[in-house]
């Protein structure tokens, strides 16, 4: 009664996504975990540092500039990193950075980080379905709660929680070391669960 799928040998139903757009030059650390269901497009380089995890169906678009992802970041499914935003195309100078994620950043399901020198500081968590506007600079260990929005060009100081309808408060728990430890453990588990295929993107 409880049998699920027509064939047990098939481990995923992931309809292919049309690889529209160019394949970006990538620089991967050897210790990253990237699912072959991830989507990398664009013309500028994409850098991913050691032990970061990219879930299936995450989308990294380097059309607007370089994307660099720090150590031990987790990019969940359906995220759009380097999104061109509502204005469509933006013109950036040569060598400009689209999105920079420092170490220990988590971008949760369906969150959008727009391109345009956007920076997420160390240990920041971007919640489910949130949007980080282009050019925003988010400090260290911030929490952007689900479905929130950080406007374009916004500056968010360290240890800020953005919640509700754009309200902010300070995170005074002082648990950043513990959060980093949890992130390391989560990456350890994800590395065993997500089959990594970095060679697909080279």
């Amino acid at each position: 009664m409880a049998s699920a799928k027509p064939s047990a040998s098939r481990h995923s139903i992931l309809p292919p996504i049309s690889q529209s757009g160019p394949k970006p030059p990538v620089t991967f650390s050897s210790s990253i975990t990237i699912s072959d269901g991830a989507v990398l497009t664009g013309t500028n380089p994409i850098l991913i540092s050691s032990e970061s995890v990219i879930h299936p169906r995450a989308r990294l678009d380097s059309m607007g500039g370089t994307i660099s992802i720090g150590k031990r970041c987790i990019i969940h499914e359906r995220t759009r990193i380097g999104d061109m935003g509502s204005e469509g195309r933006l013109s950036l100078q040569e060598g400009n950075k689209a999105v920079t994620l420092e170490d220990y950043v988590t971008v949760e399901t369906a969150a959008v980080v727009e391109a345009g020198d956007t920076l997420l500081g160390e240990g920041t968590v971007v919640g489910v379905g949130s949007r980080i506007g282009r050019g925003a600079v988010v400090g260290k260990y911030c929490t952007i709660t689900p479905q929130s929005e950080v406007p374009d060009e916004a500056r968010i100081p360290d240890f800020t929680v953005v919640y509700g309808n754009g309200m902010r408060r300070q995170d005074k728990r002082g648990v950043s070391a513990l959060m980093n430890k949890a992130q390391r453990q989560q990456i350890d588990v994800l590395r065993r669960l997500i089959p990594s295929k970095p060679e697909k993107f080279h």
Partner: protein, 200 residues
């Protein structure tokens, strides 16, 4: 004349599940569907995020019993609308990070674009559009979660509540006799390769 019948938009299984071919199911061997469940296009289920070491199986004799590491189990007559995402919740348990199974009862509707990371969802639950259900949430039977709600992690929602807001609060109760509206049998019939028209 071709030997194979033309492919429909949905895969229909013997137990009556209707799974859209455009749905994204990762780790299907860990997803249990109870039957008569509809999965619409672009819905995503992360079955690959399972518990690594089930604590119940103390014997280390090779392969675990089938279904012991189910990541997502769904009851009968559930309806997963377009672009929703079900993923098992995670937590720190005895000092280690683990994923835990997501269990869902019967007649659960998950609206378009909603992300569900609950530990347990009862039967006859309606989750609206663009809802985020935080990790390890427990939702009891006959609950209605309105559009755009953000349910914080670890919240427990009692039966017959109506929930809304960011963060979510219980704003009311399902009225007497209002639980008829949670039935999803009619909705089930309106999709699939041979859909019936919705009753007027």
């Amino acid at each position: 004349m071709s030997r194979r019948p033309p492919k429909g938009e949905y895969i229909e299984t013997d137990t009556g599940n209707k799974v859209a071919r455009k749905a994204n199911l990762v780790g299907t061997q860990n997803i249990m569907l109870g039957g008569k469940t509809v999965i619409q296009p672009e819905a995503m289920i992360r079955g690959d995020l399972t518990r690594l070491n089930p604590p119940s199986s103390t014997s280390s004799s090779g392969a675990a019993a089938p279904g012991s590491n189910t990541a997502v189990s769904i009851g009968r007559y559930c309806f997963l609308d377009r672009g929703c995402c079900l993923r098992p919740p995670s937590r720190m348990y005895r000092g280690t990070f683990t994923y835990l199974p997501l269990r869902m009862g019967d007649h659960v509707y998950v609206g378009p674009g909603s992300v569900v990371q609950a530990a347990s969802i009862g039967s006859h639950v309606h989750i609206g559009k663009g809802v985020v259900i935080g990790e390890m949430t427990i939702i009891k039977d006959y609950t209605r979660i309105l559009d755009g709600t953000v349910v914080p992690p670890h919240m427990v929602i009692p039966s017959f509540s109506i929930v809304a807001g960011r963060p979510a609060r219980v704003i009311g109760e399902v009225p007497e006799g209002g639980h008829e509206a949670f039935e999803l049998r009619e909705l089930y019939k309106t999709v699939g390769n041979n859909p019936q028209r919705a009753p007027v």
